[in-house]
Point group: C2
Chain length 234, copies 2
DNA sequence: TCCACTCTTTGCGCTAGCGCAAAGACAGCA
DNA sequence: TGCTGTCTTTGCGCTAGCGCAAAGAGTGGA
């Protein structure tokens, strides 16, 4: 790694939540232990069930974490964007990856070996505290999704999944909100089938709530979907 | 706190996973920041939606973490036993408790204020790494439960919930396995209704797989339930 | 530009499991 | 011990949503 590239990656690193609040010296040490990775579109970071060997931080691109059932059904656990860590759970001894991580677009990432990142986390409390915060946030979201799946009808769940996309950092606040997810994606995120998602979208389009497209949904009014999600009068 | 009580609690602390690997001196510092709490049976540690102010570690007794929906439905997120931390997510800034924590039996616990525990975690990398590991383990379980809820029929999910109880540390390995959970508890843990749990239990009892009782289920053969959970031939 | 593959929509039949109601059983407290 | 409240069981009617099939639309690569 050349000096200029180091500086550039250091700047990038300092803006990644996992590394927030660390000194430039600490960042330097952390970067020295990192490896640069390029994953092609549709390529895999790792597969579910494999020994967990590396932590990744996505620098550029989009990826997905999914779980596959023995029967071949797929559930989307999380969508990842730039700055997101991948597989913090590597710090668990003898952990296997509980999910498959696949690049949705071409991805640039940094990776750290398990022993390496574990040592760094033990050494730098702030680093592991940041990791704890990020896993906690994902855990909170999963708890909510579990509760929703257990207690709410499909329409509300789909509305919530759309709202979660809109609310992601970096996405614009102004309507219309363009969401590039297929019916199958939404189905895998909400525990239903693509047919049910399609029927729901068709119904919403007839009501003028969305503009539907292939792999795409445009939401006209955020509050409408908030009301659907919360089962409030529209 | 008298000297003897300190020593006794210190011994207890050193066996709590969250404090594993810390020096006696570090444990001393941590204990100095702790408060002792007694929660009566059916009493609350905290309620969902409240500002998250304290982390707790259960010393004795059993408790439950639940989420309640606006419609009054309840989902059991986690069952807690001695040594379990409660609300590690307090380290998130401005967090609200995402769940309600209620004592199932009389409980003894230690608590730490948010700022206090956050500072300790930043200071002692091992402490926050331990916290990260524990949240990660719970997160992994929730991921699995989500996938199961999204893709599996009720019978399998109930079988899995029973297996999880059997597999908890401290529970005997030898059949018969006694599980003290009501039909309603199991329903709240598996996203179904008490009627469906009851029907399933009746069916299993007729097949000689369990002995059913009020608030109780005794499992005769672990492997039978493994096969049900994995949808394998019996 | 054309073709193949994938995504989307819609009709339709089916069922797993929900939820109400009633009756019986059981545990805890006065 | 008796009573009350809660838990469990079972019958029954109902439906949300599954899943198959077919047709149409759209995208990407040669």
């Amino acid at each position: 790694m050349s000096h200029d590239l180091d500086q550039s990656v250091l700047n990038t690193l300092s803006q990644v939540s996992l590394f927030e609040g660390l000194t430039p010296h600490q960042l330097q040490i952390i970067l020295q232990a990192a490896h640069h990775r390029h994953i092609p579109r549709h390529g895999y970071f790792f597969h579910q069930g494999e020994e967990a060997t590396h932590l990744y931080v996505l620098l550029q691109g989009k990826a997905r974490l999914t779980q596959i059932t023995p029967e071949g059904q797929q559930v989307i656990i999380h969508l990842l964007g730039p700055g997101d860590p991948v597989a913090i759970i590597v710090v668990l001894s003898h952990a296997k990856y509980p999910v498959t991580a696949r690049a949705h677009t071409h991805c640039d990432a940094l990776s750290w070996e398990r022993d390496s990142i574990t040592r760094l986390m033990e050494q730098y409390g702030r680093l592991s505290l940041n990791g704890l915060k990020m896993v906690s946030e994902r855990f909170l979201e999963m708890q909510d999704r579990y509760r929703e799946l257990a207690t709410e009808r499909v329409e509300r769940r789909i509305a919530r999944a759309l709202l979660r996309q809109i609310n992601k950092p970096g996405n614009g606040r102004a309507a219309p909100h363009k969401i590039t997810l297929s019916r199958q994606d939404l189905a895998e995120m909400t525990g239903t089938t693509l047919y049910t998602v399609s029927r729901t979208c068709s119904s919403w389009e007839q009501q003028g709530l969305i503009t539907a497209g292939r792999g795409r949904i445009t939401i006209c009014n955020y509050t409408d979907f908030l009301n659907i999600a919360e089962d409030l009068p529209r």
